[in-house]
Symmetry: C2
Subunit: 296 residues, 2 copies
């Protein structure tokens, strides 16, 4: 299967699973569940869930083993976008070409929709039926890992430093802190969860972790580059918005060429990390290439 | 031990445990951890943690078995207060006599401090060291239960309906929905977690659940009454603020006398529910009485 077919096929799987795991629009309170679904089904690429599936598959597992956790991860990602877009934060009116959650449902409901998505994600990770073939100790490990990468010393921490750095001169370590925590962490968590639920042994988890660390950072460097050179229509947001906002980015710190070089280098590191897994990790390698070469 | 000493002693235990489980102010990002600690150590009564401890003790367990989960519950309670106080929600400037989180740290950091407290709560619930003597299946059950009572069909759902009902005529079932979901749920979850971690059998959990359902609702009815007749100094917030805001309350729906009668009735239901547990549940009975007769 080529990478384009793979992305399409696995994202369709994720969408169907989300449809199953997300409370329907008719469930009370309706406005809340509508707001949650609005952002979850807003045309995201499902990159984190797909990476989780691919990591599981690279170890001989199959998508069905991780679909609930993949949905949980997408819900955490979605909550972070809803809260990031709020007036008190990035104050964005559009995301993926559609009005942001608070523009449609109001600020209060948007805050609560984010809170609920985060909470429901943990409910799903702990769901008895979804985990019926998973050793309980692994389920707990997965929950601890996801909370750690999403929490105050993970994604939320990265968002705080990103916000505090706006319009300021920051050094390179601070930029790397923001990128590895705010974006890289959930990607790294996704592949590790895929490996754990796929039944990986310690050395396989270690290889996947090296892959995820490099791929996660590469994703954000590529994102920074796309914000400078990307096509507005493909991105669904304004090109150059990082710069306009005084956001810390790789191209701003290193220049565009060196930023691209860094993205390619990270892609290489990610791919090499997979060597111990052999041929079964080919799709993960393709995903690393896709991450740095995508156009949206 | 009389109830006053019990409350003081157990809340001191909880404070010490929170000191241990909450990242210190020096941990990066400092502003985030300062904001989280500001609200967690703002003089809360630790009612949910104390109820959890008491439930565990009533089954022959001891406080040490549940302290980590008690901290997690207090962190979830605290996150909900921070988000409730935001300008987009209740827009409160003071809580417990001190400026609210967003008045001190700004809206963006307050939102993120809430997000981080919620996420860290799940990390602590899944912590390997804290759960070393707990069967893994029980740990997962606890996490699922907490997420369910805190999520879109629990606490967050209650907050949405509460918000949407402001200034509107609502019927009694809607008022009960708000109170059982927004406040009652976390109290009910707290005693159930205490029972589960204390090693309760199914019939003991069922008794504790009946207790928690009644006590949780009684707490909110008493809260509504205090908002009308309470002493501003003891409450740390403006008396009559619910009415000023057009909030749905028991006294507004039933009148003050009937509301007090309902609180007493719920207290009686809570106490009777404990009968199967015998003498060891005396402190839980005292707590039910305290809940409806407190002055702040």
């Amino acid at each position: 299967m080529n990478i384009k077919d793979y992305l399409q096929n696995r994202s369709a799987l994720v969408d169907r699973a989300l449809e199953r795991w997300m409370p329907g629009e008719e469930v009370l309170p309706r406005s809340l569940h509508q707001a949650m679904r609005y952002s979850v089904f807003a045309g995201g690429k499902r990159l984190r869930p797909i990476l989780m599936i691919a990591a599981c598959e690279s170890l001989g597992g199959h998508a069905g083993q991780v679909l609930h956790a993949a949905c949980a991860m997408e819900m955490i990602h979605t909550y972070s976008l809803i809260h990031d877009d709020l007036p008190a934060m990035d104050d964005d009116d559009f995301r993926r070409g559609r009005p942001t959650n608070h523009k449609v449902y109001g600020e209060a409901t948007a805050i609560l929709a984010g809170d609920a998505l985060l909470t429901e994600a943990f409910r799903i990770l702990a769901d008895a039926e979804a985990n019926r073939s998973v050793p309980p100790a692994t389920v707990i490990k997965v929950i601890e890992l996801v909370a750690r990468y999403a929490g105050s010393q993970g994604m939320v921490g990265g968002q705080v430093v990103d916000m505090e750095s706006e319009g300021k001169e920051i050094d390179f370590p601070t930029l790397e802190y923001i990128h590895t925590h705010k974006t890289g962490g959930l990607i790294l968590a996704s592949v590790q969860v895929g490996a754990l639920l796929g039944g990986a042994n310690d050395s396989q988890v270690a290889a996947i972790k090296r892959f995820g660390g490099a791929a996660g950072l590469a994703f954000q460097v590529a994102d920074d580059i796309l914000d400078v050179v990307g096509d507005q229509q493909h991105l669904g947001k304004n090109v150059g918005s990082d710069q306009a906002r005084g956001k810390a980015t790789y191209p701003a710190q290193l220049g565009l060429d060196e930023a691209q070089q860094r993205a390619d280098e990270l892609c290489g590191i990610a791919i090499s990390a997979l060597a111990p897994l052999g041929k079964s990790a080919e799709i993960l390698q393709e995903l690393a290439r896709y991450i740095v070469n995508r156009d949206s």
